[in-house]
């Protein structure tokens, strides 16, 4: 059974010989290779080489063409501030709340900003790995992109002051993400993960998620599925318990859950959906291999009977993590108690 088949079986809640383990390694792959984060997020070939290097070292089941959460907004004209060893951030948002939405144009993933570099990375990764390791692309969620275009505070106030306008903006951002996701699948991704940090209940009320975001996520996932995506993977960090019940309607196949959501909560809310999580990100910096191993074993034991589980961190494994901690998580699926 190759990795793609293993993940597909896990999504279908079938038992597999070894539980898949996916370390959410992005910038850490650059740190490991002695490359600056700046170069890593700017150059597709560098990103792919670093990802391959990290995957060979640790032996986990997926590689990621993930740069940062500002790729789409930069492609549409936002100005970013780049650092040598931190992810770039938006210095100037391209949209203001009063802009004419009819002027907006979906960017061409083959030309706009760093989108082509992400596609290049996917091509290299898929060529090197085939179906032996899952090749994962990335788009942000519709609400997150709106926040990256307008500024998060402006977006939230818009939701209150002019909800119809926000809905139109979200329809547009959904189109951008469908277009970028389609290009990623064509370039070689088995699936694009959808990162939607701004849709977390830590930011928006769950009723907002249900009314504004869920229908757009559904549209996005349906489109990705029709283009051959191997599964709909939704990643929202933070205390997501209150929105988990909407995941099924949105068409989620793999639901990431963060450290602040308990195994019971995730399992009870989504008994028939594949889950991935939920080791605390910071523990890969502050913790020890023994602690990571203990956490991993606890998760593996809890989900052993149920199946439909991918061992992972609750959110990104930070760039400055200790390699021995990542190795401890990967080894946990290999060893029996």
């Amino acid at each position: 059974m190759n990795c793609l088949e293993k993940i597909t079986a896990t999504i279908k809640m079938q038992h597999v010989e070894r539980v898949p383990v996916i370390a959410q390694v992005f910038g850490h792959a650059a740190t490991l290779a002695g490359v600056s984060i700046n170069q890593y997020v700017s150059d597709g070939e560098t990103l792919a080489r670093c990802q391959l290097n990290a995957q060979r070292k640790y032996g986990y089941d997926a590689v990621f063409s993930v740069m940062d959460t500002s790729v789409e907004t930069e492609a549409m004209g936002s100005i970013l501030h780049y650092y040598r060893n931190m992810y770039p951030v938006v210095a100037k948002h391209v949209l203001s709340p009063d802009i004419d939405l009819s002027d907006l144009v979906v960017p061409d993933p083959q030309e706009a900003g760093r989108m082509p570099e992400m596609l290049k990375a996917l091509g290299i990764l898929r060529k090197e790995l085939g179906d032996e390791t899952l090749v994962v692309g990335c788009v942000v969620g519709p609400f997150t992109l709106a926040g990256q275009l307008l500024g998060l505070e402006n977006t939230l106030y818009l939701a209150i002051d002019n909800p119809e306008r926000l809905e139109r903006l979200l329809d547009f951002t959904t189109e951008v993400l469908i277009s970028f996701g389609r290009a990623q699948l064509k370039a070689g991704a088995h699936l694009p993960i959808v990162f939607d940090p701004a849709a977390s209940p830590a930011v928006i009320p769950s009723s907002f998620f249900r009314e504004f975001e869920m229908p757009r996520l559904k549209r996005l996932f349906l489109a990705l599925e029709s283009m051959g995506s191997a599964g709909n993977w939704l990643h929202i960090a933070g205390p997501v318990t209150s929105i988990l019940p909407y995941y099924r309607d949105a068409g989620v196949d793999i639901a990431n859950f963060d450290y602040c959501v308990s195994m019971d909560e995730a399992n009870n809310m989504l008994p028939a959906v594949c889950l991935d999580g939920n080791i605390k990100s910071l523990s890969f910096i502050e913790g020890t291999p023994a602690e990571i191993r203990k956490e991993s074993k606890k998760l593996l034991s809890y989900f052993r009977e149920r199946g439909g589980f991918i061992l992972s961190s609750g959110c990104e494994i930070p760039p400055e993590s200790r390699p021995e901690n990542i190795a401890a998580m990967v080894q946990a699926v290999e060893t029996k108690e």
Binding site: N85, E153, P205
Partner: protein
Amino acid sequence: MVDKRMKAFISAVLQGDCDRSVRVAQELKESGVSSEKIVVNGLETAMSALDAKCTLEEFNLLEIMLAGRAVMAVMKLLYPSGVTTNTSKGTVVIATLEGDVHDLGKNILKMVLIGKGYRVIDCGKDCPLPKLIEVTSSENPIAVGISGLITPVIAQVKQVRGLLDDRNLHQVKVIAGGAALKQSSPEKLNVDFVAESAFDCLHYLEKVAEVAI
């Protein structure tokens, strides 16, 4: 009449109705109520009511943002120059550190603290440590609040206490908050307190302010 109007004012702020809050504050002013009373009896009461409503389980960030926006608009009406007379509770310096632009949490804390009568000096986002230390040295605050959504800022957070101590600012408390920092502990971050939310930070500050007065 004033009591009734003050109640209407508190209700407008709590509902996050910015225009109505400003309108009723203006009426209160015109009927002779001092700016300080509008802050203490109006805004602070509204913020306390919001505080009581927002538990960790039922934390509605948008509700706080809307009330906070009303607070800021009312403060602008009461103190157009930006200088408040009501600083008895003390000054707090806040910042989102260099490399991090996720300042929503910081901005919410700012609105909550202003609503509760603190003087707030906001160093903004992407703030280099030397700037934070300079501002703290010159403003004599009771505390410094630093936020971080991403882990790379942790290295900076750990330095703040020592840098303040180097300048003999031992009495200034260092408070950390934000998604990345919340995962850690005061000991590991070398700070005095790690806040779960803006109101958690406020509760800690109220204790500090009590001692400082």
